[in-house]
């Protein structure tokens, strides 16, 4: 250090330094104060807010799905229940070689090889600790896996509940089924309520009473870390006073349906395309509502693959189609009691006179021939015998005198041409033709006009008229109850799952047919009883020897028009163009408790095809031996 330096003034330098140190100490203190001020702001002033944010960070809400209510028939037999199921799940982080595991599982037939790619994708896209469902297992499959569990690290069996329909196809259309919640479903429901639920009612009762059946989700708070993994051994945390609410189970639903009767109907219709509906005329209870062929709703609950659904959908016999409510059929001669009643009610001349049936009918000034049915010539006919023997010619004349306006008005009062308002969806209104309807439905002036010939066809339930089996059963119930009407219903009560307390639903009366005189009702009832009891009655063969009195009317409806000079020949027609058979009945005649409509497609006359089905249902209902034997099965 030999450089020339100005002399250091030690005293002055020390004072300067000291002043700087003091200034620094003051600044340090101030800055520390500033930090503390900030901390007070964070930890005292905004404590509440940060505390909530911290709580929100670590608390995840796990939804708890409610247990779906049961569906029971009127006798308490279970139509839809929840049974344990086994799901094969993979936990991605525990798996070393997923593909190898999948191949092994495929060999055991636990996993569908077609799903392999999808599953690999799925496992790779999830968070490492979130279970991925590989397949639903049957009890047997679960057992197969259980003994080999040690070969599969990271693959587990998880228990859950799945909807089960013990009667399978028997009540498929009425009860419906549940399926995976779709995007459309989500638009109609409160997502929060379905947070833990993965299935929802899709059709039938399952859909109509979804609100009752589903219940309300609960939740359980759980501690999660930053990755979302649930921490189960976190007890020391004062924040984690975990809250929860138990789910509120859905209500049980009790139906008017009698599953034993339903099973009898299913057996009676086996191998046929058809439908049967039975209604209690005293309250509108739908005792039976069946459409065959049907499908197994359990396949939907388990989850149908696209291919399986396509196969069901493409089936020519339309198993997914609910014929009982959506099938439209020409009613044929089953309309005769109604038009007969109309003839009496409107005091037509026609019903006061005898008429000769020569096998054909011509409108005045027309060459068109309206034929009698296969019965040929009936000879002298009264209203009574025309119903008992089902004479078309008698009704052609009656229709002409009634005219389409009065016919339409009268039939509409019985519910023809409109939805009955049953409490499940999918109902078709059918069609009761009228002048107004033609005017609105058609576009050209030519077609819009109502022609007298059309009135003639309408008189025997052909032409434009179309009914659903449900409509026909409903109208039959109205007829049986002499004009007292109830809305057909499947739901009769809901029941609290826990207390068992039932909440019965009152039957809903509809506008009665009040102005028809009691004698007129009686005349028709007598004629329908005659059809099942008199020597030449159309339903005698199928209804002979009953222990109860039964009123019935057969119907045979052409599916295709037969040209003037052609003869209907069942043998030469394709099966799908053969006649439909119909039958309506109620019993006992003096105090009806059950009204039935049956339709059998393309098997010919109602007396031979549809009436036996009704007979078996009635026998079952009135408890003959056969029915008792049937009961023992369940």
């Amino acid at each position: 250090m030999v450089r020339a330096q100005p002399l250091k003034d030690h005293w002055k330098e020390q004072r300067l330094f000291l002043s700087r140190v003091i200034a620094a100490a003051v600044i340090v203190t101030l800055l520390t104060g500033g930090l503390i001020w900030r901390l007070v702001h964070l930890q005292v002033v905004d404590f509440q807010r940060f505390s909530e944010l911290s709580h929100g960070n670590q608390i995840d809400i796990a939804p708890l799905a409610p247990t779906r209510g049961l569906i029971m028939d009127r006798n308490g037999l279970i139509l839809a229940e929840n049974v344990p199921t086994w799901q094969l799940v993979a936990i991605p982080e525990q798996i070393v070689d997923l593909e190898a595991h999948l191949i092994e599982l495929e060999k055991l037939e636990l996993v569908d090889p077609a799903d392999r790619e999808v599953l690999v994708d799925l496992v790779q896209s999830r968070r490492r600790f979130e279970p991925v469902t590989l397949a639903n297992l049957t009890e047997r499959q679960a057992a197969i896996f259980a003994v080999r569990r040690h070969h599969f690290s990271g693959i587990h069996v998880q228990e859950g509940l799945i909807r089960n329909y013990p009667y399978g196809a028997a009540a498929a259309h009425a009860v419906g089924y549940v399926g995976r919640i779709s995007q459309n479903d989500y638009e109609e429901i409160d997502r929060a309520d379905y947070a833990g639920t993965f299935q929802i009612g899709k059709t039938g009762i399952e859909r109509a009473y979804e609100d009752h059946l589903h219940g309300y989700s609960g939740y359980q708070e759980q501690v999660v870390n930053a990755q979302g993994r649930v921490i189960t051994d976190w007890s020391s945390n004062p924040d984690a006073a975990l809250e929860g609410r138990l789910p509120e189970p859905g209500r049980h639903v009790v139906l008017a349906l009698d599953i034993r009767l339903q099973r009898v109907a299913e057996q009676a219709l086996e191998g046929l395309r058809g439908a049967a509906v039975a209604i209690d005329p005293r309250n509108g209870d739908v005792l039976t509502l069946i459409s065959t062929p049907a499908f197994d709703p359990n396949r939907f609950a388990i989850g149908l693959s696209g291919a399986e659904f396509a196969e069901l959908n493409a089936d020519n016999n339309l198993p997914l189609f609910n014929r009982a409510m959506a099938g439209r059929y020409p009613p044929g001669s089953t309309v005769k009691p109604f038009y007969g009643l109309a003839g009496l009610h409107y005091e037509t001349l026609h019903v006061t006179e005898d008429h000769f049936c020569g096998g054909e009918f011509r409108l005045p000034g027309s060459s068109r021939i309206y034929r009698e049915g296969p019965g040929g010539r009936h000879g002298e006919m009264t209203l009574h015998t025309a119903i008992v023997r089902s004479c078309n010619v008698y009704y052609y004349g009656l229709a002409v005198e009634l005219g389409i306006d009065r016919m339409a008005e009268f039939m509409t009062a019985f519910g023809f041409g409109a939805r009955t308002g049953i409490d499940i969806s999918g109902e078709n209104p059918g069609l009761m033709p009228s002048r107004e309807w033609k005017r609105e439905y058609f576009t050209t002036r030519d077609q819009q006009a109502w022609y007298p010939g059309e009135t003639v066809s309408t008189g025997i339930g052909q032409g434009y008229t179309e009914v659903t089996p449900l409509q026909l059963a409903h109208a039959t119930a109205n007829l049986a109850a002499r004009g007292v009407r109830y809305r057909p219903r499947l739901l009769v009560a809901t029941e609290d799952t826990e207390t068992g307390e039932a909440n019965p639903i009152a039957a809903e009366p509809l506008a009665p047919i009040a102005d028809v005189s009691p004698e007129h009702w009686q005349l028709i009832h007598d004629a329908l009883l005659g059809a099942t009891t008199e020597t030449r009655g159309t339903a005698l063969s199928s209804m002979g020897g009953t222990t109860y009195t039964v009123a019935g009317k057969t119907g045979t409806a052409q599916v295709v028009g037969v040209a003037q000079d052609e003869k209907y020949d069942a043998e030469t027609l394709d099966e799908q163009f053969r006649d439909n058979g119909l039958f309506l009945a109620y019993a006992p005649v003096e105090d009806p408790r059950i009204a039935i409509a049956v339709v059998v497609e393309n098997r010919g006359g109602g007396g031979r095809t549809a009436a036996p089905v009704a007979r078996r249902i009635l026998d079952a209902y009135f408890g003959t031996e056969e029915y008792v034997a049937d009961l023992a099965e369940f």
Binding site: L16, F17, T32, L35, F47, N237, P238
Partner: protein, 352 residues
């Protein structure tokens, strides 16, 4: 031996270990490792405390030049870790020469001003600026903005203590303000993001702002008395990032609350106060400036880290002194305190 100094250091380090045990997920191995670092730091502390400051002064230019040489070496052959070239691999240990600059720069500045009359004149200031700027730029280039800022701070604080006139301070402040847009242009993208994030962390709460938001949630949710040791949910459930290193202040805030943080800050304040007292008592320019600058730099550390974690400063990778897990920082800090202890010990011998 300056026992008040040593005792306060041990208190802070002990408190740090307790917090670290929780922050590291109740890992005792983390504590053992931190204990080893503390041990190594204490060895440096006691060794340096034995060296009379005048020897230290004589060695200063050599120390500075060799650390500068190491920095250049890092630039050429350094290990790249986490995108930055900061380490010299010596085979058995990774060395971070930039850390040593935190000591070497204030020593060099103090050395340079020792013989000169204070306050320094403008040409001398120019030299001092070079002493600070060259290593700072080398470190910023690695890139290690945090350490560069600390090195600049260490040098700058020395100059301030040297009695630089207030006019120059004002002038420099204005110059800095004017230069900040230029600085902005030279900043790397991630550095710019940090500044923007600091200004509004909620802008990208799941991305860039995540750390700072989670750290404020941790501190804020601790409240006055904290959630209790080992009970910090933010820390233990992984919401808080870097919780055993840069963000350990937030862990302490969450578990020990305002009371814990104020206690820690007061302990730091006591350390800084003790250091300034030693500086005020020191007998020559070199020791005075060095002691003062080491103390103030230490406070700067604390303020930058606590300020960043509590959201009043942008995120800069500065550990919380004596508490954050990490070896180099611990050793450098304790070495600095060792120098302070030496200055404290030898002040009376040099009394005029």
């Amino acid at each position: 031996m300056d026992y008040p100094l040593l005792l306060t250091i041990l208190l802070v380090a002990g408190l740090g270990m307790i917090v670290l045990y929780s922050a590291a997920g109740e890992s005792s191995s983390a504590i053992v490792r931190q204990g080893i670092r503390l041990g190594a730091g204490l060895v440096a502390f006691f060794a340096l405390a034995q060296i009379p400051p005048r020897y230290l002064r004589l060695w200063t230019p050599w120390v500075f030049v060799s650390v500068l040489g190491m920095l250049l070496l890092v630039m050429l052959v350094g290990d790249v870790r986490g995108g930055a070239q900061r380490w010299l691999d010596l085979g058995f240990i990774g060395l971070q020469p930039s850390e040593f600059m935190k000591l070497a720069v204030p020593m060099m500045v103090a050395w340079f001003l020792h013989d000169r009359s204070l306050p320094p004149k403008l040409p001398q200031l120019f030299v001092v600026v070079l002493i600070v700027a060259v290593p700072a730029l080398l470190i910023a280039e690695q890139p290690d903005l945090g350490t560069a800022v600390l090195v600049v701070a260490a040098g700058g604080l020395t100059i301030l203590l040297a009695g630089i006139s207030l006019r120059i301070i004002a002038g420099l402040s204005i110059a800095a303000l004017v230069a900040s847009p230029v600085l902005w242009m030279f900043m790397l993208d991630y550095q710019r993001t940090r500044v923007l994030t600091f200004l509004n962390p909620w802008e990208d709460a799941q991305g860039a702002g995540y750390n700072i938001i989670q750290s404020q949630i941790a501190i804020g949710s601790g409240g006055t008395f904290g959630k209790g040791w080992l009970n910090g949910t933010q820390a233990n459930l992984g919401f808080l990032p870097e919780r055993s290193t840069d963000f350990i202040f937030a862990v302490m805030g969450e578990e020990f609350g305002l009371v814990g943080l104020v206690t820690l800050l007061l302990l730091y304040l006591a350390l800084v106060g003790r250091g300034l007292y030693i500086a005020a008592e020191a007998q020559d320019t070199f020791t005075r400036l060095l002691a003062g600058s080491l103390s103030l730099t230490f406070f700067f550390y604390v303020f930058v880290n606590a300020g960043m974690v509590s959201g009043i400063l942008p995120v800069v990778g500065v550990p919380l002194p004596l508490v954050s897990a990490g070896g180099t920082s611990m050793v450098t800090l304790l070495a600095g305190f060792g120098i302070l202890a030496a200055i404290s010990r030898h002040r009376k011998l040099l009394a005029p």
